[in-house]
Protein backbone atom coordinates (compact mmCIF):
# COMPACT_ATOMS: atom_id res chain seq x y z
CA UNK A 1 0.00 0.00 0.00
CA UNK A 2 2.69 2.37 1.08
CA UNK A 3 4.85 1.22 -1.79
CA UNK A 4 2.29 1.99 -4.48
CA UNK A 5 1.69 5.42 -2.99
CA UNK A 6 5.40 6.08 -2.97
CA UNK A 7 5.78 4.90 -6.54
CA UNK A 8 2.90 7.05 -7.69
CA UNK A 9 4.32 10.17 -6.08
CA UNK A 10 7.73 9.49 -7.56
CA UNK A 11 6.25 8.94 -10.96
CA UNK A 12 4.41 12.23 -10.92
CA UNK A 13 7.59 13.97 -9.74
CA UNK A 14 9.43 12.34 -12.58
CA UNK A 15 6.87 13.49 -15.11
CA UNK A 16 7.26 17.02 -13.85
CA UNK A 17 11.00 16.99 -14.12
CA UNK A 18 10.82 15.54 -17.58
CA UNK A 19 8.45 18.24 -18.62
CA UNK A 20 10.63 20.92 -17.08
CA UNK A 21 13.80 19.81 -18.78
CA UNK A 22 12.13 18.74 -21.97
CA UNK A 23 14.39 20.54 -24.47
CA UNK A 24 17.48 18.64 -23.33
CA UNK A 25 16.41 15.41 -21.67
CA UNK A 26 15.37 12.51 -23.82
CA UNK A 27 11.70 11.71 -23.21
CA UNK A 28 11.61 8.44 -21.30
CA UNK A 29 8.58 6.31 -20.58
CA UNK A 30 7.27 7.12 -17.12
CA UNK A 31 7.54 3.47 -16.06
CA UNK A 32 11.24 3.20 -16.68
CA UNK A 33 11.87 6.51 -15.02
CA UNK A 34 10.86 5.44 -11.56
CA UNK A 35 14.27 4.49 -10.23
CA UNK A 36 16.07 7.24 -12.04
CA UNK A 37 13.94 10.01 -10.65
CA UNK A 38 15.71 9.76 -7.30
CA UNK A 39 18.61 11.62 -8.90
CA UNK A 40 17.09 14.99 -9.48
CA UNK A 41 18.05 15.60 -13.08
CA UNK A 42 19.43 19.01 -13.76
CA UNK A 43 18.90 20.32 -17.26
CA UNK A 44 22.62 20.11 -17.92
CA UNK A 45 23.13 16.50 -16.99
CA UNK A 46 22.58 15.25 -20.49
CA UNK A 47 25.32 17.37 -21.98
CA UNK A 48 28.78 15.99 -21.31
CA UNK A 49 31.68 18.17 -22.24
CA UNK A 50 34.89 16.43 -23.18
CA UNK A 51 37.78 18.67 -24.03
CA UNK A 52 38.79 18.27 -27.63
CA UNK A 53 42.39 17.59 -28.65
CA UNK A 54 44.15 20.87 -29.15
CA UNK A 55 45.40 19.82 -32.57
CA UNK A 56 48.52 21.14 -34.20
CA UNK A 57 48.54 24.09 -36.50
CA UNK A 58 50.48 23.84 -39.73
CA UNK A 59 52.63 26.89 -38.91
CA UNK A 60 53.57 25.50 -35.54
CA UNK A 61 54.58 22.09 -36.92
CA UNK A 62 56.57 23.76 -39.68
CA UNK A 63 58.33 26.03 -37.20
CA UNK A 64 59.24 23.17 -34.89
CA UNK A 65 60.63 21.05 -37.71
CA UNK A 66 62.66 23.95 -39.10
CA UNK A 67 64.04 24.75 -35.63
CA UNK A 68 65.01 21.13 -35.26
CA UNK A 69 66.83 21.20 -38.59
CA UNK A 70 68.57 24.45 -37.65
CA UNK A 71 70.07 22.69 -34.65
CA UNK A 72 71.06 19.69 -36.75
CA UNK A 73 74.77 20.20 -37.29
CA UNK A 74 74.95 18.40 -40.63
CA UNK A 75 72.71 20.84 -42.45
CA UNK A 76 75.15 22.42 -44.88
CA UNK A 77 73.48 25.77 -45.37
CA UNK A 78 70.86 26.81 -42.80
CA UNK A 79 69.88 29.80 -44.95
CA UNK A 80 68.35 27.37 -47.46
CA UNK A 81 65.94 26.09 -44.84
CA UNK A 82 62.40 26.65 -45.97
CA UNK A 83 59.14 24.72 -45.68
CA UNK A 84 59.70 23.40 -49.19
CA UNK A 85 63.31 22.26 -48.85
CA UNK A 86 64.25 18.73 -49.70
CA UNK A 87 66.60 17.00 -47.25
CA UNK A 88 68.95 15.64 -49.89
CA UNK A 89 68.87 18.25 -52.65
CA UNK A 90 68.62 21.50 -50.70
CA UNK A 91 70.14 20.67 -47.35
CA UNK A 92 72.87 18.31 -48.50
CA UNK A 93 71.90 15.46 -46.18
CA UNK A 94 72.66 11.86 -47.11
CA UNK A 95 70.31 8.96 -46.53
CA UNK A 96 71.68 8.23 -43.05
CA UNK A 97 71.22 11.89 -42.06
CA UNK A 98 67.66 11.72 -43.35
CA UNK A 99 67.02 8.75 -41.07
CA UNK A 100 68.43 10.78 -38.17
CA UNK A 101 66.23 13.76 -39.00
CA UNK A 102 63.11 11.60 -39.19
CA UNK A 103 64.00 9.99 -35.85
CA UNK A 104 64.50 13.43 -34.34
CA UNK A 105 61.07 14.47 -35.65
CA UNK A 106 59.64 11.33 -34.03
CA UNK A 107 61.07 12.37 -30.70
CA UNK A 108 60.00 15.99 -31.08
CA UNK A 109 56.35 15.05 -31.61
CA UNK A 110 56.48 11.92 -29.42
CA UNK A 111 55.19 9.53 -32.03
CA UNK A 112 56.65 6.51 -33.75
CA UNK A 113 56.82 6.56 -37.52
CA UNK A 114 56.77 3.10 -39.13
CA UNK A 115 59.68 2.32 -41.48
CA UNK A 116 57.56 2.46 -44.60
CA UNK A 117 56.25 5.95 -43.92
CA UNK A 118 59.62 7.10 -42.65
CA UNK A 119 61.26 6.11 -45.94
CA UNK A 120 58.81 8.34 -47.80
CA UNK A 121 59.72 11.51 -45.88
CA UNK A 122 62.29 13.39 -47.93
CA UNK A 123 61.38 16.99 -47.45
CA UNK A 124 60.15 19.42 -44.83
CA UNK A 125 56.66 19.71 -46.32
CA UNK A 126 56.30 15.91 -46.48
CA UNK A 127 57.19 15.72 -42.81
CA UNK A 128 54.72 18.49 -41.93
CA UNK A 129 52.01 16.74 -43.91
CA UNK A 130 52.71 13.46 -42.13
CA UNK A 131 52.68 15.03 -38.65
CA UNK A 132 49.41 16.85 -39.36
CA UNK A 133 47.84 13.54 -40.35
CA UNK A 134 48.76 11.98 -36.99
CA UNK A 135 46.10 12.50 -34.36
CA UNK A 136 48.41 11.68 -31.43
CA UNK A 137 51.30 13.91 -32.43
CA UNK A 138 51.89 16.75 -30.02
Amino acid sequence: MFRTALLRSMRSAACQTVRRSAPIARPVGAGSFVTRSQFVPSPFQAARCYSAAAGLQKDEVEGRIIDLLKNFDKVADPSKLSPASNFANDLGLDSLDTVEVVMAIEEEFSIEIPDKEADAIHSVDKAVEYILAQPDAH
Binding site: A88, S95, L96, V99, E100, M103, E107, D115, A118, D119, H122
Partner: protein, 77 residues
Protein backbone atom coordinates in the same frame (compact mmCIF):
# COMPACT_ATOMS: atom_id res chain seq x y z
CA UNK B 1 64.45 9.19 -54.65
CA UNK B 2 63.48 5.52 -54.63
CA UNK B 3 65.54 3.04 -52.69
CA UNK B 4 66.15 -0.58 -53.56
CA UNK B 5 65.11 -3.31 -51.13
CA UNK B 6 68.66 -3.74 -49.89
CA UNK B 7 69.10 -0.01 -49.37
CA UNK B 8 65.90 0.07 -47.36
CA UNK B 9 67.21 -2.82 -45.24
CA UNK B 10 70.35 -0.85 -44.50
CA UNK B 11 68.35 2.23 -43.51
CA UNK B 12 66.04 0.06 -41.39
CA UNK B 13 69.06 -1.35 -39.57
CA UNK B 14 70.38 2.16 -38.94
CA UNK B 15 66.98 3.21 -37.64
CA UNK B 16 66.96 0.19 -35.32
CA UNK B 17 70.39 1.15 -34.03
CA UNK B 18 69.18 4.66 -33.23
CA UNK B 19 66.08 3.27 -31.53
CA UNK B 20 68.24 1.01 -29.38
CA UNK B 21 70.50 3.94 -28.50
CA UNK B 22 67.49 5.72 -27.03
CA UNK B 23 67.23 2.99 -24.39
CA UNK B 24 70.77 3.70 -23.19
CA UNK B 25 71.48 6.16 -20.36
CA UNK B 26 71.04 9.75 -21.49
CA UNK B 27 74.65 10.62 -20.72
CA UNK B 28 76.11 7.96 -23.04
CA UNK B 29 73.42 7.87 -25.68
CA UNK B 30 75.38 10.16 -27.98
CA UNK B 31 78.31 7.74 -27.87
CA UNK B 32 76.13 4.91 -29.14
CA UNK B 33 74.71 7.08 -31.90
CA UNK B 34 78.16 8.21 -32.96
CA UNK B 35 79.40 4.64 -32.90
CA UNK B 36 76.53 3.44 -35.11
CA UNK B 37 77.14 6.31 -37.49
CA UNK B 38 80.84 5.48 -37.66
CA UNK B 39 80.17 1.82 -38.37
CA UNK B 40 77.88 2.70 -41.27
CA UNK B 41 80.21 5.38 -42.55
CA UNK B 42 83.11 2.91 -42.74
CA UNK B 43 81.37 1.12 -45.58
CA UNK B 44 79.89 4.06 -47.45
CA UNK B 45 82.19 3.46 -50.41
CA UNK B 46 80.63 0.06 -51.18
CA UNK B 47 78.97 -0.16 -54.54
CA UNK B 48 75.22 -0.53 -54.20
CA UNK B 49 75.34 -3.51 -56.57
CA UNK B 50 77.74 -5.40 -54.33
CA UNK B 51 74.90 -7.47 -52.89
CA UNK B 52 76.79 -10.27 -51.19
CA UNK B 53 79.13 -7.90 -49.38
CA UNK B 54 76.27 -5.65 -48.24
CA UNK B 55 74.23 -8.61 -47.09
CA UNK B 56 77.20 -9.88 -45.13
CA UNK B 57 77.63 -6.48 -43.49
CA UNK B 58 73.92 -6.33 -42.71
CA UNK B 59 74.07 -9.64 -40.91
CA UNK B 60 77.19 -8.57 -39.09
CA UNK B 61 75.50 -5.33 -38.11
CA UNK B 62 72.43 -7.13 -36.83
CA UNK B 63 74.59 -9.38 -34.65
CA UNK B 64 76.48 -6.37 -33.36
CA UNK B 65 73.23 -4.54 -32.64
CA UNK B 66 71.93 -7.50 -30.64
CA UNK B 67 75.14 -7.57 -28.66
CA UNK B 68 75.19 -3.84 -27.89
CA UNK B 69 71.49 -3.66 -27.09
CA UNK B 70 72.06 -5.80 -24.00
CA UNK B 71 71.10 -3.65 -21.01
CA UNK B 72 74.40 -4.49 -19.32
CA UNK B 73 76.27 -2.38 -21.84
CA UNK B 74 76.00 1.20 -20.67
CA UNK B 75 78.77 3.00 -22.51
CA UNK B 76 80.84 2.65 -25.63
CA UNK B 77 84.02 4.31 -26.82
Amino acid sequence: MRYSGLQRDVLALYRKCLRESRKKPASTRAHFEAFARKEFQKHLHFDKKDFSAIEYLLRKGQRQLEMYSSPGIKDIH
